[in-house]
């Protein structure tokens, strides 16, 4: 069945966050990470790390505040690591 709109949006958000965490928070580039283990603890930990750094409520979830911030324009330099 074609993905309905909500599922597709969720899919887009997942990809966006995965890209963000890879670019700025040293998440290992493992494309299946999200799809296969969307609640896997490494990703949840990285989401929490990102939320803490950016001054968001640390929920470990892709809440609307978090999605809003990661859609904002920013500097391309990572927030952690080299």
């Amino acid at each position: 069945y074609p993905l309905d709109r909500a599922a597709r949006d969720k899919e887009d958000s997942m990809e966006l966050v995965q890209q963000y965490l890879e670019n700025y928070y040293n998440l290992a580039k493992d494309t299946k990470q999200f799809v296969r283990r969307k609640d896997s603890s490494p990703v949840v930990k990285k989401i929490q790390e990102m939320q803490k750094f950016l001054g968001l409520e640390v929920t470990g979830k892709l809440d609307s505040d978090t999605l809003e911030v990661i859609r904002k324009p920013r500097c391309g330099i990572p927030d952690v690591g080299s």
């Binding site: 920013r74 500097c75 330099i77 927030d79």
Partner: protein, 378 residues
């Protein structure tokens, strides 16, 4: 604030920059002035100076580019990544790249070039991102920044001065001696065990110890303090001052002598001073104050005179009711009269003659008694 792993920083204070190409979004002179203004932001709070070159390899090469542009961080089209810059070093290190798929503007109708450039030059100088939302080095672009009142946050200043120290000499001032003054006969000796101070204040991450016509300037990055004539930095300040304290939120140090006080920012005297100490709300019976310090966290400033003290609310900008109080009541173990006092690392350091009392405001007790000159590496 944070620095890059290994804390890369420039080992020289004079840096060159080159604008290699231009965006078509703005006239060239608008790009020139945005870049120059963005560098000045950092120049004003460090000993660093910048000069422009028009060919060859500069320390900071500035380019506008789209998508893949020769480094390992291709840009991504309009939105999302706006720019990036590399930490200090040779070759492409120190360089700043701006995504020309953005709409670069002088205001915030598009992406403000000055604001992004000032952020990127923070990277070029060795700062990584800050977690403080109001810091320039916060990673996410804020289109609501009021450009007319732009100022570095204290976090930005703390970070860059952690790397390079403070100017104390603004870059456009006449050349002012920054080398220490050789001790002449009659000048105070730092390691005299009987040494006492007139006043002490923090200033942009350093500590200034005032005595007579001189002051010692103590940085946490160097062992040896510098020794200077007060007049070599602040010609119109009197010598033999009574008290001094820094209000970091205003990036200002207030200097007291007799019934007057002055305000300085870096080494620039602020207009509209001296003012009378009674304009702060001190009673007319107080002829002069002995010491003062401002507690950034509490947003309160404490004034000490003889055996009493008053407290000033920095938010309400007025003296608090219920004062004066006895010093010994709230600072048990501290001997009045106080010559000088400052706050650092969460402790209050009181100076009385050649003795220094480290006071823990949480435990409300003196935790150490030291010689007054213990900070001068004796």
């Amino acid at each position: 604030f944070s620095t890059f792993p290994g804390m890369p920083k420039w080992r020289k204070t004079h840096l060159t920059y080159r604008i290699v190409n231009y965006t078509k979004d703005l006239p060239r002179d608008a790009v020139d002035s945005a870049i120059e203004k963005a560098l000045t932001v950092w120049e004003e709070v460090t000993p660093l100076t910048f000069s422009r070159i028009y060919e060859g390899e500069a320390d900071i090469m500035i380019i506008f580019a789209v998508r893949e542009h020769g480094d390992f961080l291709p840009f991504d089209g309009p939105g999302k990544v706006l720019a990036h810059a590399y930490p200090p070093g040779s070759g492409f290190y120190g360089d700043a790249h701006f995504d020309d798929d953005e709409q670069w503007t002088k205001d915030t109708s598009g992406i403000n070039l000055f604001l992004v450039a000032a952020h990127e030059f923070g990277h070029s100088l060795g700062l990584q991102h800050s977690t403080e939302r109001e810091a320039l080095m916060y990673p996410v672009y804020d289109p609501l920044t009021d450009l007319t009142r732009f100022r570095l946050s204290q976090d930005d200043i703390n970070g860059i001065q952690f790397l390079y120290g403070s100017p104390l000499v603004s870059p456009n001032d006449p050349v002012v001696p920054t080398e220490s003054v050789p001790p002449e006969p009659g000048t105070p000796a730092a390691c005299d065990p009987a040494l006492s101070f007139d006043a002490i204040s923090t200033l942009r991450g350093e500590i200034l110890f005032f005595k007579g016509r001189h002051f010692w300037r103590k940085s946490f990055r160097t062992l040896e303090p510098e020794f200077h004539l007060i007049s070599s930095f602040w010609p119109s300040l009197p010598s033999g001052i009574d008290a001094a304290y820094e209000v970091t939120s205003k990036d200002t140090v207030f200097i007291f002598k007799g019934n007057q006080f002055w305000a300085i920012r870096g080494n620039e005297m602020q207009a509209g001073y001296p003012r009378g100490i009674h304009t702060l709300g001190l009673p007319s019976t107080v002829r002069k104050i002995d010491a003062a310090f401002s507690d950034k966290e509490k947003k309160k400033t404490y004034f000490f005179a003889e055996d009493k003290y008053w407290r000033f609310d920095e938010k309400r900008q007025s003296m608090e009711p219920g004062f004066p109080k006895q010093i010994v009541e709230d600072f048990p173990g501290v001997e009045p009269e106080v010559d000088a006092v400052f706050k650092v690392f969460g402790f209050y350091y009181f100076f009385s003659g050649s003795s220094q009392f480290e006071f823990d405001p949480n435990a409300k007790k003196v935790t150490h008694v030291l010689k007054s000159n213990s900070w001068l590496n004796c």
